[in-house]
C-alpha cells in the first residue's frame, strides 16, 4: 500500500527542551495506526506536531498526495478529533459539521445541509442534529466531532484519545465506527490512545513512546508486541502491570 504519512528524524519538545527525539515512522494508506504510550509520554504532543499545531524542534513530517498541515485561511487536508471533541458550544451539532463545508466548498445551503446530515447519519446522530453539544452525552459529542472531522472527506483522520472518558459500551461502539471509517471509507486513521481493548480491536500497526527513553521503544502490530516483545516497558504496558512486576 502506498505511504500517506512519513515522519523522519523528528524531535519534539517545548522551549528547546527535547521530549522525544529521532521519531521516524510511516503510515500506509487505509491503515489504522496507533501511537501508544503511558500518560505523559508525549503522544498528544507528537499528534499536535503531526497536524501542524506545534512546530517540531527538528525533522520533518511529510504527507504524500495531500496538502500540508492546516494553517489559518487554508483548506484543511485532514480531519482531527480532539480529546474533548472541541465542538463549538454555541452551535448545534449540525452547525458544527456545516462550518467547514460552508467555509471550504461552493455547495449551496441545501447541499451543504445534505452532506452534513449524511455525516451525522454515519455516526448515528441525525436525530440530534439540532441539539447543542451541552445537550448530548460525552460519547455523542465524540461522534459529532468525528462527523465534523469527516466533513470535507479527508483522506486521513487524526484522533486524540477517542475513547477517553467513555464507558466500555460507548467505547466499543466508537471502535466499530473507526473500523467502519477505515474499511468502508478507506480513510487512513492515526490515533493516540492508551486504551488496550481499542488498540487490539482497531489498530493495524503501532508505535510506543517512552519519555524516559526519549523516543520510540517499540513498533509493529499490537498483538505481536504484546506477545513477543522483549522490552519490559512494552510488556508492562500491554499487561497493565507496573514495570517491576511485568518481567
Amino acid at each position: 500500500m502506498p505511504k500517506v504519512l512519513q515522519v523522519r528524524d523528528l524531535a519534539i519538545g517545548y522551549d528547546d527542551e527535547v521530549l522525544l527525539d529521532e521519531i521516524a515512522f510511516d503510515v500506509q494508506r487505509g491503515e489504522v495506526f496507533a501511537i501508544l504510550g503511558g500518560s505523559g509520554s508525549g503522544k498528544s504532543t507528537l499528534l499536535r506536531t503531526l497536524i501542524g499545531l506545534q512546530e517540531p524542534l527538528q525533522g520533518r513530517v511529510h504527507f504524500t498526495g495531500i496538502g500540508p498541515p492546516a494553517r489559518a485561511m487554508t483548506p484543511p487536508s485532514f480531519g482531527v478529533l480532539f480529546q474533548s471533541a472541541a465542538l463549538f458550544g454555541s452551535l448545534t451539532l449540525l452547525q458544527n459539521v456545516l462550518l467547514p463545508l460552508q467555509k471550504w466548498t461552493r455547495l449551496s445551503a441545501g447541499a451543504a445541509v445534505a452532506v452534513a446530515m449524511g455525516r451525522l447519519r454515519l455516526v448515528g446522530l441525525e436525530r440530534f442534529a439540532h441539539h447543542l453539544p451541552s445537550e448530548v452525552s460525552g460519547g455523542m459529542r465524540k461522534r459529532a466531532g468525528i462527523a465534523r472531522a469527516l466533513a470535507l472527506d479527508p483522506p486521513i483522520l487524526f484522533f486524540d484519545e477517542p475513547s477517553a472518558g467513555l464507558d466500555p459500551i460507548t467505547a466499543a461502539e466508537l471502535d466499530d465506527l473507526i473500523l467502519t471509517l477505515a474499511g468502508g471509507l478507506m480513510v487512513t486513521i492515526v490515533l493516540v490512545t492508551h486504551e488496550l481493548p481499542s488498540i487490539f480491536k482497531v489498530a493495524d500497526q503501532c508505535i510506543m513512546l517512552d519519555l524516559s527513553a526519549g523516543g520510540i521503544i517499540a513498533r509493529g502490530a499490537p498483538r505481536d508486541l504484546a506477545e513477543r516483545s522483549n522490552d519490559a516497558r512494552v510488556l508492562a504496558f500491554f499487561r497493565r502491570t507496573p514495570l517491576a512486576r511485568s518481567t
Binding site: S108, A111, V115, S134
Partner: protein, 375 residues
C-alpha cells in the same frame, strides 16, 4: 471554472421513466455541480433511476448528496432508485443510505415569534427572581450556621478577594467619582451663577455625592469589576464540574465560595464609597475654584455646614445593601450557569444587568424610606 469530473446524462425510456446515467469521478469537490445537475435533470414526477455503474470514484460527500437527493425525491412522491452500484460505490452508498432509518428529512425548528419571546422573557424573569430570593434565603441560613461554626467558613481567600475588589479598584473609583463631582459641579455652577447662588454649590455637590451619587457610582463600578468577575469565575467552575466536585467533597459552595465574596464586598464597598465621596466633593471644589473663582475655604466651609454625619451614614447604609446585592446576585448567576462558554457569557451579562437594576431599585427604596424618617 474547471469542468466537473463526472458526467450526468438523462434518457426517458419507452415506459416514460427517466433514467439518469452518472459516471466518472464523483467527489465532494464537484458537489455543487452534482447537486445542481441532479435537481435540473432529475426532478420530474414519476419513476426515476440513477445508474451509478459508471462511477470510477465516489467519496463520502458525493454519496451523501446522492442518497439525500433520492430521499428528497421519494418524499416528494416520486420513485427514485440508485441502481448498478458495485464494489466500493455500493459500500459507500450503503453507509450513507437513510431509507432504513425512516424519515431522512429533519425540519429545522421554527424561530419563535415576538409574543413567544415576550412570554419566555417574563417567565425567565420570574424564575430568576425566585432563584435569587431562594439563594438569598440559603445565604441567611448558611450565615446562621457560620456564626455557630465559624471554622466551616472558608476565609483563606478573603484577603485576596478584598485586595481585588478593594485596593485594585481604588484608582477607577477615585477617577470616576472625581469626574462625576466635577460634572455635577459644572452643571450646578452654571445654573446657580445665574441666580447669584454660587455659595450653594458645595451644598448641591456635597449632598448629591454623599447621599446618592457616591454610593451609586461606586456600586456600579464594583458591579462591573467584581460582580462580573464573580459571575464568570463561578460560572466557569460550574461548567467545569468543579462545583459538583466541591459538593462530592462534602463542601458547601455557599460557605466555600459565596460567603467570602459577599463578606469581602461588604467590607470593601463602604470604604470605597467614603473615598468616592471625598474625591467627588473635591471634583466640585475644582469647579468652584476654577469656574466660579470661589476661594476654596468658602467652598469647604459651606460643605462642612451642609453635609452632616447623618448624610454620610445614609450613603454608607446604602453601600452595605448594595454590596450584599452585588455579591449575592453575581454568585447566584454564576452558580446557575448552564451551557459551556456561551452560558458563562450569558450568566455574566445577566449578573451585571440584574445587579444594576436591583441597586437602582434599592436606591429608590432607601431614598423614600430616609425621606419618610426625616434622615
Amino acid at each position: 471554472m474547471q469542468a466537473p469530473g463526472f458526467s450526468l446524462t438523462s434518457k426517458v425510456d419507452d415506459g416514460g421513466s427517466l433514467r439518469l446515467h452518472l459516471s466518472g469521478r464523483v467527489t465532494l469537490v464537484d458537489g455543487a455541480a452534482l447537486w445542481r445537475q441532479l435537481h435540473t435533470t432529475g426532478s420530474q414526477n414519476g419513476a426515476t433511476e440513477i445508474d451509478v455503474g459508471g462511477i470510477e470514484r465516489l467519496d463520502g460527500g458525493a454519496a451523501a448528496l446522492l442518497t439525500a437527493f433520492a430521499a428528497k425525491r421519494s418524499a416528494a412522491g416520486a420513485t427514485m432508485r440508485l441502481v448498478g452500484a458495485r464494489g466500493e460505490t455500493a459500500k459507500l452508498l450503503g453507509l450513507y443510505d437513510c431509507s432504513r432509518l425512516g424519515d431522512c428529512e429533519h425540519p429545522i425548528p421554527k424561530q419563535p415569534g415576538l409574543l413567544v419571546d415576550i412570554g419566555e422573557f417574563t417567565h425567565s424573569a420570574i424564575r430568576t427572581t425566585k432563584a435569587i430570593l431562594a439563594f438569598g434565603g440559603d445565604l441567611v441560613v448558611g450565615m446562621v450556621h457560620a456564626v455557630r461554626q465559624p471554622r466551616t467558613v472558608h476565609l483563606t481567600d478573603l484577603g485576596s478577594l478584598i485586595e481585588r475588589a478593594g485596593s485594585d479598584g481604588i484608582p477607577i473609583v477615585l477617577l470616576i467619582n472625581f469626574l462625576v463631582g466635577a460634572i455635577l459641579g459644572l452643571q450646578g455652577a452654571i445654573q446657580l451663577h445665574r441666580f447669584g447662588g454660587d455659595y450653594f454649590l458645595a451644598n448641591l455637590v456635597g449632598l448629591s455625592i454623599v447621599r446618592e451619587l457616591g454610593p451609586l457610582m461606586t456600586a456600579i463600578l464594583v458591579t462591573g469589576r467584581s460582580g462580573a468577575a464573580y459571575a464568570a469565575e463561578l460560572g466557569t467552575m460550574t461548567v467545569n464540574e468543579e462545583i459538583d466536585a466541591l459538593r462530592t467533597l462534602g463542601q458547601d459552595p455557599q460557605r466555600f465560595l459565596v460567603f467570602p465574596r459577599v463578606l469581602a464586598l461588604t467590607l470593601v464597598l463602604p470604604i470605597l464609597t467614603i473615598l468616592g465621596d471625598l474625591i467627588g466633593t473635591l471634583g466640585g471644589l475644582a469647579i468652584a475654584v476654577t469656574y466660579l473663582q470661589q476661594p476654596s475655604v468658602v467652598y469647604l466651609q459651606s460643605l462642612q455646614q451642609s453635609v452632616g454625619l447623618d448624610d454620610v451614614g445614609t450613603g454608607l447604609l446604602k453601600s452595605v445593601a448594595f454590596a450584599v446585592a452585588i455579591g449575592l446576585i453575581s454568585c447566584q448567576r454564576g452558580l446557575a450557569t448552564r451551557g459551556g462558554a456561551a452560558g458563562v457569557g450569558r450568566s455574566t451579562t445577566s449578573a451585571v444587568v440584574v445587579v444594576l437594576f436591583v441597586i437602582i431599585a434599592l436606591d429608590a427604596v432607601f431614598t423614600w424610606i430616609f425621606s419618610m424618617l426625616g434622615w
